[in-house]
């Protein structure tokens, strides 16, 4: 495939039913009302010269290059800012226009370096293109006048340079930062000839820039340019693929020179991101070729032995023989495996198939266990299936947005940009979070209500919101009457005085009037949408809270159309897909219980194997069973359980107790320290398959390069199964998807061919919805009627005590991802070189802690050391950290507490104490100093 240059129609589409017909250069065209003349021209194949216009940004009208003449109108209006009108006759090329454009270009070029042949943007420069387009042949003003050619280059950002000498002050970068990203880090400083782009008066790295790349994408010259392009040269071919970071699932053009990846550029036709990106997807792909990657299989007898590199056949035979041997000695159920939310649907599917059909048990679980398993339980109980209800575009129709336990600007930044755009347009925001996350108050955005609740009281707050809706007569009776069941029983429960905002105020810490006001706004403010994250699920009542939110959405009629819904923001790229593919020990692909004889029979026929009808072990159960002795071998694909799972000391004890640990991963991660077999995996750049994002969108993951290990991950799994005596043969991953489609009603219409044709589809995709389902539950719920469920608040067992008086809650930040295995191996460490502990200044002061001090964070299960950062975004009594760095090992302190229904760990509530790390005694300090020398 050659380098894909997407068409740029200059100004955004203006969708609407009314149309306008006009002529451009004699060609008739009919476009939606409100469309610019420039876009109308583009739609009939006529490119009007432009520099400040691009169709990801609203028209600006500054470059004066896109001038046109319109019959019956005076002057030469800018086509980008002129809307079409019925019967309009436009001329884009006349002698008068040519003269004007050449004059404009002369001025630009007189203050621009004439280094095209050595410029990094040579061949991809709009200024260069426009010089040609307008027929520029001379610059009458010369090049010796006042100019900006000596402006310095700002190289502070690790991924791109800002060469101010090449800037034409078109403001595209400034507008992209504001309109697309919503950060407003850039501005035009100064006036007239002295005006220049500025990152708020400082360099890019010191500014509020979040390094999303929108400015680089928008820049028409080499002013903002990727360092990789400067270093390697302009790419020559593109492959459309899907990001492997968060659950937004952005589409990218992987742009290469030969076999070398030069840059990742967000794809305008990507359904999830529509041309936008974040610092991780856009720039942090270097881990895929990092020297730390292990490319050869390795085995060892004991975890204290050195690794022995072996060939694939040896590694697979070793793995299969050990697994069978353990089963022969300890029983069929003594082994199991964990699928990964970072691998493709096809890779996940074959792992769970191997476990069910070759291992002969249901001991399969996935890393979604520790994040969104309560979503699966809660939404299935209430709506009938485990999935968010909306597509991302839906937020553009929301009037009231409720964000609960999520921090989208850090965790799901590209979706956050969509959300912020809608908030700037006037939608109201309700944030429910113990921390004052950035969304609460950021440029041009301020939450109408921030319910800063005590960690662990989510259910009390959502019940209180619902109590207000019910008792103040704000229920959508029509929706509830037609679409739902069990309402009266729920209403009797939720109306009880103990659920009132006043009754729970002391417990939650949220003023009752604030809860009442938020409830009224959500119920009466128009389209109300709920977006939530792990601050909902990772609690002892995570599943209850998911049902509580579903109750609230149904009671207010906010389900089944654009702008509403209950929407989990999935943490990893394929959390949705890994769950869809039957990774849970009680469910086959498509969320069908393993005990269902009919469903199981369908799989048995297709797979030619008898399946167990009983659920298998979940991840925490595997750890417990390992320590008890009934579980002896674990296959782990793409998850670092020794770092990411709670109560690490317990996890490590379980891993040490196993006879065999097989790790299939990119790197020798923390879990590999306990492994006997290491099977090298492939990065997303090598994979061939599909990811399913948080909006149920199935996107193609196309191979940008051949597997560096010599083998696809699905092949490894199939070969292990075969070596264990169960043939599992595929020639291509498309055959795996065909098998998934044949067995899974919601995927029945999915195929690689269809995805290549349509770009992506959102499941359900079948005969009823051949091109997918952006909005679910439109005419009825998946389970028929939406079910109201009682959600009594039960406090967590984890309480602050005199010994552990603070509550720790954990999360992630923008530049890092999960356990950091990927992002720590990129320049993203420039933003977050270590995990820190955010603590309120009051809590710090009473402990004698200053900003930057090393502190000991301890709970009843463990302790770790990290640096304190004083932050008044934290409420008094609550501290916060991330778990991106194994050195810190934040999960040393998190406990065994978990969601009652799913065993999802309670990462968000741990009673802790924080104290200054004791200063070393003089003799120790001397020894340390000598050792350092």
């Amino acid at each position: 495939m050659s380098l894909l240059k997407e068409p740029d129609l200059g100004t955004p589409a203006k969708p609407g039913p009314a149309t306008v017909s006009l002529e451009v250069d004699g060609l008739p065209v009919t476009v939606p009302e409100g469309t610019s003349v420039m876009r109308a021209a583009g739609l009939c194949g006529i490119d009007v010269p432009k520099l400040c216009a691009t169709d990801s940004l609203e028209a600006f009208g500054s470059c004066r290059l896109c001038l046109v003449e319109i019959d019956g109108r005076r002057g030469t209006p800018a086509s980008c800012t002129t809307p079409v009108a019925e019967g309009m006759r436009v001329s884009t090329q006349t002698p008068k226009l040519a003269k004007l454009r050449q004059g404009v270009m002369e001025l630009y070029i007189s203050d621009h370096p004439l280094d095209c042949l050595t410029c990094s943007a040579n061949g991809d420069c709009e200024l260069q293109d426009m010089s040609g387009a307008v027929g520029l042949r001379q610059v009458r003003y010369g090049y010796d006048g006042a100019n900006h050619l000596d402006e310095k280059t700002d190289s502070s950002n690790p991924y791109f340079d800002f060469d101010a000498s090449k800037c034409i002050s078109c403001s595209r970068c400034v507008r992209a930062c504001g309109e697309v990203q919503g950060t407003f880090a850039l501005t035009i400083e100064g006036r007239g000839f002295g005006s220049k782009v500025s990152a708020g008066g400082t360099d890019f790295m010191s500014s509020e820039c979040v390094s999303c790349g929108a400015c680089v994408q928008a820049c028409p010259t080499a002013t903002l340019q990727e360092k990789s392009v400067i270093q390697l040269g302009m790419p020559s071919r593109s492959v459309i693929t899907t990001c492997a970071y968060c659950g937004v699932g952005c589409s990218f053009k992987a742009e290469l020179r030969g076999a070398e990846l030069v840059r990742m550029v967000p794809y305008k036709d990507g359904g999830a991101n529509e041309g936008h990106s974040c610092v991780k997807g856009r720039f942090a792909f270097g881990y895929a070729t990092h020297p730390d990657r292990v490319l050869t299989p390795m085995v060892r007898e004991k975890i204290t032995d050195e690794w022995q590199p072996v060939d694939w056949d040896t590694a697979i035979a070793f793995t299969a023989a050990r697994l069978r041997d353990i089963q022969s000695r300890h029983g069929v159920g003594a082994i199991g495996g964990i699928t990964s939310s970072r691998t493709t649907n096809e890779e996940v599917y074959v792992v769970q198939k191997m476990i069910r059909a070759a291992f002969g048990n249901n001991n399969v679980d996935t890393c979604a266990r520790v994040c969104h398993s309560p979503t699966g339980y809660g939404l299935k109980q209430t709506f009938g299936t485990s999935a968010g209800t909306q597509d991302f575009r839906s937020v553009a129709q929301s009037d009231v947005i409720m964000v609960i336990g999520a921090n989208p600007t850090d965790g799901h930044p590209v979706f956050a940009s969509r959300m912020k755009r809608r908030l700037r347009e006037g939608a109201k925001l309700i944030v429910i979070d113990p921390r004052r996350i950035d969304l609460v108050r950021s440029p041009h955005i301020e939450a109408a209500h921030h319910l800063q609740l005590a960690p662990g009281t989510n259910v009390a707050v959502v019940n209180a919101l619902a109590h207000v809706v019910l008792t103040e007569g704000l229920v959508d009776r029509s929706f509830v009457g037609e679409r739902c069941e069990d309402f009266d029983d729920w209403a009797e429960f939720i109306a009880r005085p103990e659920n009132s905002p006043e009754a729970v105020e002391e417990l939650t810490g949220v003023p009752a009037e604030e809860v009442r006001a938020a409830a009224r706004l959500f119920a009466t403010g128009g389209n109300g949408a709920i977006y939530y994250g792990l601050g909902v699920t990772e609690h002892s009542q995570g599943s209850t809270m998911v049902m509580g939110m579903a109750n609230l959405a149904m009671a207010t009629g906010n389900i089944g159309r654009e702008g509403v819904g209950v929407n989990p923001l999935r943490g990893q790229n394929n959390v949705q897909g890994s769950c869809d593919m039957g990774s849970f020990p009680h469910e086959l692909p498509g969320y069908r219980h393993i005990s269902d004889d009919v469903v199981r029979g369908v799989f048995e026929n297709m797979w030619g194997s008898t399946l167990q009808a009983e659920p298998g072990l979940r991840i925490p159960n595997m750890f417990d069973a390992a320590i008890e002795g009934s579980f002896r071998a674990l296959y782990v694909q793409g998850e670092d359980i020794a770092q990411s799972d709670p109560n690490i000391n317990h996890v490590h004890a379980a891993l040490r107790a196993l006879d065999l640990v097989v790790v299939q991963d990119l790197f020798l991660n923390e879990t590999a320290k306990f492994a006997h077999v290491f099977l090298p995996g492939t990065s997303f750049l090598e994979k061939d398959g599909t990811f399913t994002n948080a909006e149920r969108r199935i996107n193609r993951v196309r191979p940008v390069m051949a597997p560096k290990t010599g083998k696809h991950e699905w092949q490894i799994v199939a070969e292990i199964a075969e070596a264990m005596g169960y043939p599992m043969r595929y020639d291509h991953p498309s055959q795996i998807m065909d098998e998934i489609a044949a067995l899974t009603p919601t995927f029945a219409g999915v195929s690689f061919d269809k995805l290549d044709k349509l770009g992506s589809v959102q499941w359900p995709c079948n005969d009823n919805a051949p091109e997918g389902t952006p909005i679910m539950h439109r005419d009825g719920f998946v389970r028929g009627k939406g079910r109201f469920v009682r959600t009594p608040f039960v406090p967590t067992r984890e309480r602050s005590t005199r010994k552990y008086p603070l509550i720790l809650t954990t999360g992630r930040i923008l530049s890092q991802y999960n356990v950091g295995a990927q992002t720590r191996r990129t320049a993203n460490v420039a933003w977050h070189p270590e995990d820190v502990l955010e603590i309120h200044p009051h809590d710090a002061e009473v402990r004698g802690i200053n900003d930057g001090d090393e502190v000991v964070l301890s709970s009843r299960v463990g302790a770790t050391t990290l640096r304190a950062v004083l932050a008044d975004r934290m409420p008094v009594g609550v501290v916060y950290t991330t778990f991106h760095h194994p050195v810190t090992g934040a999960n040393v302190v998190t406990t065994e507490n978990s969601d009652w229904a799913t065993n999802c760990p309670e990462y968000k509530v741990t009673a802790v104490q924080v104290g200054l790390k004791a200063a070393p005694r003089p003799a120790e300090a001397l020894r340390s100093a000598m050792a350092a020398e």
Partner: protein, 67 residues
């Protein structure tokens, strides 16, 4: 306390709002749907050896599981 006892107690407390018989049935149904057989077996052993550690609703549910 064994993991199984801790887990079923955690489940039981969520169903206290229901009548005891209905709660026990719901808890038992949940355990059947989501627990590996060896976990259920271990639970039954704990019911025999240390029933005092179980929430009364959990105990009632465990009895349903054994029938």
């Amino acid at each position: 306390m064994s993991p199984q006892v801790r887990m079923i107690n955690d489940i039981a407390v969520q169903f206290r709002h229901q009548a005891p018989d209905a709660a026990a049935a719901a808890i038992a149904e949940h355990v059947r749907a989501f627990w590996d057989p060896r976990m259920r077996a271990e639970l039954m052993r704990r019911v025999e050896s240390e029933p005092q550690g179980l929430d009364p609703l959990a105990l009632a549910a465990a009895r349903l599981l054994s029938t």
